[in-house]
């Protein structure tokens, strides 16, 4: 029997949810025995593959790249988990929403600069006007709040999902 296919994706987040994933410590090896990690910043696969069973998505949708990525992920994933507060509510990235993108870029690249003030436009993706939670852009199957969700909660949820159960997310909470 082939193992369930697990993926993890980073959008606009601080990577703290991925660090909490690593905080499963030795259980990472147990998880690897239960599921194949087919896509993640931790492995050398560059293109999001088809037929992913479970994907944990960290971060808000904030740039053109994020938008493109999350649509592709949704298309190719059976169970999409909105992973952590930035995915669930847009949390810290959304602090920029009342300000707009122009003043942010101006502060960083025109004002707080010694040489060559200019806003980067080549190769780098444009920012979306607002930072949005994942479920505002695509359908989400499971919400796992927390800044970050604890390693115990992540382990329990992922095991439930790869074993085909509705996950028990008791104990999930926003913030701490």
């Amino acid at each position: 029997m082939t193992k369930p296919r697990l993926a993890t994706v980073w959008l606009d987040g601080c990577s703290g949810c991925h660090m909490s994933f690593l905080d499963m410590d030795e259980r990472l090896l147990d998880l690897a025995a239960m599921a194949d990690i087919v896509y993640s910043p931790l492995v050398d696969v560059k293109e999001y593959p088809p037929d992913v069973d479970v994907c944990l998505v960290e971060g808000a949708v904030s740039s053109e790249d994020d938008l493109h990525k999350i649509r592709l992920v949704r298309e190719r994933t059976r169970t999409l988990v909105s992973f952590g507060d930035c995915a669930v509510t847009a949390n810290v990235p959304s602090l920029r929403n009342p300000i707009g993108t122009a003043p942010l870029l101006e502060r960083a690249y025109l004002e707080n600069v010694t040489l060559n003030p200019r806003i980067p436009l080549d190769v780098v993706p444009a920012l979306l006007p607002t930072s949005r939670p994942v479920h505002d852009v695509v359908d989400v199957d499971v919400f796992l709040p927390g800044c970050p969700p604890s390693a115990d909660l992540i382990f329990r949820t992922v095991v439930d999902l790869v074993e085909g159960r509705v996950p028990d997310t008791t104990g999930a909470r926003f913030g701490r």
């Binding site: 949810c17 990472l28 690897a32 931790l42 560059k46 790249d65 040489l115 003030p117 701490r176």
Partner: protein, 472 residues
Amino acid sequence: MSQIVIDPITRIEGHSKITIQLTDAGEVDRAYFHVTQFRGFERMVQGRPVHEMPSIMARICGICPVSHLVASSKACDEILAVEPPPTGADLRRVMNLAQMVQSNALSFFHLSSPDLLFGFDSDPAVRNLIGVAQAQPQLARDGIAVRKFGQQIIEWLGGKRIHPAWVVPGGVDAPLAVETRERILAAIPDALAAIRRALDWYKAELVRWEEEAATFGSFRSAFMALVDADGRVDHYGGRLRVMDADGGLLVDRVDPRPYWDYIGEAVEPWSYLKSTYWKAAGYPDGVYRVGPLARLVVADTLGTPGADAELEEFRARLGRVPASTFHYHYARLIDTLYAAERIEELLRGPEILSPRVRSHAPINRNEGIGVSEAPRGTLIHHYRVDDDGLVEWANLVIATGHNNLAMNESITQVARTYVKHDRLTEGMLNRVEAVIRCYDPCLSCSTHALGDMPLLIALVAPDGSQLDEIRR
């Protein structure tokens, strides 16, 4: 002119790509490291009460949140015009060093050890921590254990592993409980043993990577880090020392707070990551490196017995100022050994259980600058506030930004050595990525952002025809 794109760079902490520009003759001209996401914390925090700053700024990065807590709290100390009580400062040091351990472990074991163990041309499908666990279980288990050691200390002190709120303006939030001290001390021998096993393995294997060590960003540059008044490494604070490629001191033990006297920040249109440069040498010649290798280069000694013995051996092998970026890995392991030893020393200090850990004060100044060593190098937080303590302006100079010019120089060198335009291999491109992994860039921090994307490497001839393509 044609170009090769590596997108995204994997096994690094962030969202980036590399383009390699080829000349009409098909030679590598230059390589560019593009950081592709931006969040804008410097403007986002405007109007927030200054006491919120450590907790908001920690959300810049889930890998090194404690670095931002420390630098931010130090900037807030200045705004309150207080010094933390000595025990409060020592407890901040303990947490900062615990984070050094876990972040260095992530870089070495979780992200880079697959290249070192399997080789740069190995199968990408096994080139990850799970592959390491199958091939050499002890190495993977040590990696997990060392990272866990650091994370547990943070949790035991601050209540949670990621984004604890325990480091605060004026000191820390609560004194050290005696049971916590004993728990940490009890975990130290196993952690030291695991770090030593990795260090012994690395030194024994070093000969296998001689070719990479000679070509992975091997160039003359200055190095910058913080040292204490006696010239020992000082991750928490201290004075700034910058050493040139010949071992001469460009500045020694100066106050790091007027950073604008020494360094400038330049923008390139092709990256969200600004390039910090040594002002006296100008742009773009003012290349310097920060992080574990820089800390070992500039410090006279580290100050703990095991780490100092390793530093001596390191210098006997490589000299005082190693040119190659590859040696960041070796330096990172010694830095980790130092951190674990120093945590033990601090916890055995006579005043470490003192209940006086925090100084309280209202807003007493309108400006504050906090400088500390993050895992990846010198970190600067600079804030201005109004009389009510609401933030009016902020500037952040992040470790990875200091290394930006050096990273671009390094990938260009590796690409010129390995990338053959008419015959692309996955291993060539993995080497270009691997030199970036040496710096362990934290792109979440550096543009105050993160993310990732698919890879398609296409080699396109000047006439537009596709010569070669690789996917993974």
